[in-house]
């Protein structure tokens, strides 16, 4: 028998494949992680503060305390993801050493480098990165991202930006499919992405990695809408733990995401959940406070 290989693209992208159709929930401690696992989350995302609190409190947002991440890993047996700042390759090294299952190089935290993202090929642990459009997604994949999530506008409870970004990405993929072979060279230039990757997307009609959506999902119907728009799964950040009844809302979002075309199930899942998180309309956010504009 031949030797075995860890950290290959197939292995890294493969875990994201196994999360498809599911909900990944932001958690800040072991207690929240327990609620998420019990509710049927396919993975949890460990971070210092949920985006709504980062927004409210301001200041620099960083990787979580390793103690908290280890407590979360000890509490649950579903995959544990954790956020590192954009370009902060040492936070990523730390998270890899802790044994997290996925690293999110995330615009929700304060960027550590306004020029470069992390060279994600250097790691055995896979990375997920945010994107607002196809070019950004393909640049992250070029740097080694094994999963993409559309960014939306985290911490708002306003789903409109999530809608815009997933529609933009799928729309740009559809446009590539309609181009002739000789037009793909210019398309690659316009997307600022490598030609080989652009050609692959044009041929297959999809990203070479799993595409989740994030940023503003607060209700079962929001989650189901993202799925109907073509997302492979959903990240829910502040939407669960900033709501009136996190247990019930987490379960309801899981159910609606799984049965996303069944309006009767979504209606049933939407009943009696108590208050949704208090929202902020993205239009009311001054541009410097828009997290989606971090990363390029």
């Amino acid at each position: 028998m031949s030797t075995s290989e860890t950290g290959s693209s197939r292995v890294k992208r493969g875990l994201a494949e196994m999360l498809k159709g599911g909900v990944i929930m932001d958690v800040v401690n072991a207690e929240q992680a327990r609620i998420a696992e019990d509710a049927g989350a396919v993975a949890v995302m460990a971070l210092e503060r949920v985006p709504a609190d980062i927004r409210a409190q301001g200041g620099v947002a960083r990787m979580s305390d390793p103690d908290l991440i280890e407590q979360i890993m000890a509490e649950v047996s579903i995959p544990v993801m954790a956020k590192a700042r954009i370009g902060h390759f040492v936070e990523a090294q730390v998270l890899e050493s802790l044994g997290v299952d996925y690293i999110d190089e995330s615009e929700v935290l304060s960027p550590a480098d306004y020029v470069n993202h992390i060279d994600k090929w250097d790691y055995t642990v896979p990375f997920v990165c945010g994107a607002t459009n196809l070019g950004e997604a393909l640049r992250r994949i070029t740097e080694g991202a094994a999963m993409i999530r559309s960014k939306g506008e985290a911490g708002t409870g306003d789903v409109s930006e999530a809608t815009k970004h997933i529609r933009t990405i799928t729309g740009e993929i559809n446009r590539l499919r309609s181009l002739t072979k000789d037009e793909l060279y210019v398309a690659a230039k316009e997307l600022q992405a490598p030609y080989e990757l652009v050609r692959e997307v044009a041929e297959t009609g999809k990203l070479p990695v799993v595409l989740f959506t994030a940023g503003g999902v607060a209700t079962p119907a929001d989650a189901a809408m993202m799925m109907q728009l073509g997302a492979d799964g959903v990240f829910v950040g502040s939407g669960v733990f900033k709501s009136g009844n996190p247990e019930a809302r987490a379960k309801a979002i899981v159910r609606a995401t799984a049965a996303y075309t069944d309006a009767a199930v979504i209606a049933d899942a939407s009943r009696g959940l108590g208050e949704a998180m208090v929202g902020i309309n993205v239009a009311d956010l001054p541009a410097p406070h828009r997290l989606a504009e971090r990363g390029w």
Partner: protein, 183 residues
């Protein structure tokens, strides 16, 4: 799941997704894909398909489970989450997440004589292993260290790994042969 559908269609099968009891009544065999086994268990109960699947397994429906699917087919589960159940079927004990975290996930070649001379390229992603098998369970593959990673019993087939991710079709062929022989 997409890769399973593609593999089975390439082999000439009529494939559909099973999300409800009505869907289940339409199929002669079932593939339970990878995923998070604890979530598949929960959803199967929420959507009311668990009992129907158990009845079909008991009645001899061919089922192929990969990774989480293998966990769900085991009579006994080790290291599940609190309250996690399986459909059962295999007289076997399966350990969930037996290899550690994602950084321990790997791909390797496995010699599986039952499928022919050519080795199987197997992708293990936070994979389970089979820790105990009953007398009626056939062991199809082991890792170098002896741990069991592929088994068969009656109309059931289970692998810890994902042949569909690497384009390996011989397990799907074997599953379809069982479906054709029993329907």
């Amino acid at each position: 799941m997409r890769e399973h559908v593609a593999s089975l269609r390439e082999l000439g099968a009529d494939v559909r997704e099973v999300r409800s009891v009505a869907d289940l009544e339409q199929v002669a065999g079932l593939v339970i894909p990878g995923g998070e086994s604890s979530v598949i268990d929960k959803l199967s109960r929420i959507f009311g398909v668990r009992d129907a699947i158990r009845e079909r397994i008991a009645a001899g429906m061919p089922v192929y489970g990969t990774c989480a699917g293998l966990i769900l087919l085991a009579d006994e589960l080790v290291d599940g989450i609190d309250g996690q159940q399986t459909f059962g079927g295999f007289d076997a004990t399966v350990r969930r997440n037996a290899f550690g975290t994602q950084s321990d996930s790997f791909e390797t070649d496995l010699a599986i004589p039952a499928l022919g001379e050519h080795p199987v390229h197997a992708v293990f992603i936070r994979a389970p292993v089979v820790e105990r098998v009953g007398p009626d369970v056939e062991v199809l593959a082991r890792l170098d260290d002896g741990r069991i990673v592929a088994i068969a019993q009656g109309a059931l087939l289970g692998t810890s790994f994902h042949p569909e991710v690497s384009g390996e079709q011989r397990f799907h062929e074997r599953f379809l042969q069982t479906v054709r022989a029993t329907s």
